[in-house]
Amino acid sequence: MLENIRLSFQGIWSHKMRSFLTMLGIIIGIASIISIASTIKGTNEQIKNNLIGSGNNTLSVMIYTQGYEYHIDSWSKAPAGFCEVTDEVCEQIRELDSVENVTRYNERQYSESIFYKNTSLQNTSVRSIDTDYFETVGYTIRTGRNFIDSDYENFRKVLILDKTAADNIFANENPIGKTIEISGKPFTVVGVVDQTKKFTPNINNVEDYYTYANTDALGYIFMPKASWPIVYEYDEPENVIVKAVSVDDMEDAGKKVEDILNATIASYQTEYKYKADDVLQRAQKLQDMSAATNNQLIWIASISLLVGGIGVMNIMLVSVTERTNEIGLKKAIGARKGSILGQFLTEAAVLTSIGGVIGVASGIGMAQVINKVSGVAVSIDVVISGIAVVFSMLIGIVFGLLPSIKAANLDPIEALRRE
């Protein structure tokens, strides 16, 4: 077998030009498939990244009513008699295999009662948060300090702004120590946070903008969870943010957390339900749309592989005719049919495998060119590249079979008589 492979390389090398031309069909076919597959994978990863964000595996599980995300804002009051998510429930969630951590928050959007000096900060969202919120969601302190335990114990009226809100409200001033009024109560800004991993969705066109662009343009104001009832109410429904162990665990984590939280409110709430953000599902839908068109391209590229395979068969048939003498001799000196068959099959398989390897290499090259020229995201799939090489080897075996059988069945007497 090894000997056959060595001889095949020798044969291919001694007919460099012919071998290359034979491989060309395979090379072009494999290269097209690899570059298309890379584009599909790249696009998919981009979609997923755009939706998941910075990739820290967090997802929100929020209260929904009648299928819509439920926001408590200036116009709608919190539903009566809602229990908060207790520490015990959080502990129960943390015990899930797919969950790394969970953190709670309350949120108000479009609150009319937030002011800095005389400016209304109506479009800034307010959140009350757990101590581990920043760490779980992926924020780091830029200036000032984080909330500390005594802030919670003493119900201190302190605030931390995210960078967007800080820039928006204070522009060039230092926000630390400034006072913001919420529902008539003065709160002191103690820190500014920013996302640990900066993430901007890759937006290539208008559709992307509507799909991915963030709507929280005016930023967030955070206060300790304990201080929330000073300005709002005690029993407002709480949302949670779950950090999954990995991206692949997100869906599972979301489902399980939904169930746990819904169980806590099931006895008294039917109108409201907790529902996890289904980013992966949304990503899947978008990916399916982009893949559908590209899959057709793969079929077209496969046709060139078929043509390439027929080319290999043709050359192998010529090669068998050319080497009739050699085959006759080998049979005369004791080669079995199987040895001859093996020799020619190996040769075809080696030829197309080399074609496959060159094809994968040029496909990767083509993908990079596509990326540079059109800006489409590409990502090389090692598994698909491997499959492509194995597949081209199979093409060699399938299309080499007929010529090899022909060679194996040559009558040695006839074969030797020919010069």
Binding site: E3, G11, G328, G334, L416
Partner: protein, 228 residues
């Protein structure tokens, strides 16, 4: 008795006609003999050679090689007989042009499943035996006709066959090279190798210890000339 052919008939079908090529051929060869089968072209000597070499089957008759009825063997077994029991030498050498002399000689060893290292050693040994130790890594195009035929003989001998079967071994050689090849056959025969040689040249046939003639598919022993 190393080779025993009895009442061999071989017919070829040409259209609706049956052409008899071999008629009642009987030939016994003892271990260590040196036999020349001589006859003009069209006499059926190549057909006989193919039958003896297990490349072809007779229409009827019996053939025993080293006491084994080879006509009962299947194609795979016949390949093994050609591999281990018979060494072929052809008129036009039949060397593979892309391979070195060493690789050409080592070729049958591949089919015999000999490992690479042992293969090279055995092939080299065979080349030394035919006096080509200084041409081991040469390709056939770099060798003279006589040298090519000696490489071919080394290849035929490398698996230590029972019979060396030569078909017009000097047909493509000049008289000097022919003489060298004949001396080599003589030497191998002296070492105990059974040689069967087919030729149309009575001069060449004269090197053999025993000459049989074939004419129109019929074999005849040529007494008298066998002992010179």
């Amino acid at each position: 008795m190393i080779l025993k052919l009895e009442h061999i008939y071989k017919d070829y079908i040409q259209g609706k006609m049956t052409v008899p090529v071999l008629k009642d051929v009987c030939l016994n060869v003892e271990q260590g003999e040196y036999v020349a089968i001589m006859g003009p072209s069209g006499s059926g000597k190549s057909t006989l050679m193919n039958i003896v070499g297990c490349l072809d089957r007779p229409t009827s008759g019996s053939y025993e090689l080293t006491g084994r009825n080879v006509l009962a063997l299947n194609e795979r077994q016949l390949a093994d007989v050609r591999l281990h029991n018979i060494g072929f030498v052809f008129q036009n050498f039949q060397l593979l042009p892309r391979m070195t002399a060493l690789d050409n000689v080592a070729l049958p060893l591949i089919y015999a499943g000999v490992r690479k290292r042992a293969r090279r050693a055995k092939a080299k040994e065979a080349l030394i035996r035919v006096g080509l130790e200084d041409r081991v890594m040469f390709k056939p195009t770099q060798l003279s006709g006589g040298q090519k035929q000696r490489v071919a003989i080394a290849r035929a001998m490398v698996n230590k066959p029972d019979i060396l079967l030569a078909d017009e071994p000097t047909g493509a050689l000049d008289s000097k090279s022919s003489k060298q090849v004949m001396e080599l056959f003589q030497k191998l025969n002296d070492e105990g190798v059974t040689v069967i040689m087919i030729t149309h040249d009575s001069g060449i046939a004269g090197y053999a210890k025993r000459v049989v003639t074939i004419f129109d598919g019929e074999l005849a022993e040529q007494k008298g000339e066998t002992e010179q």
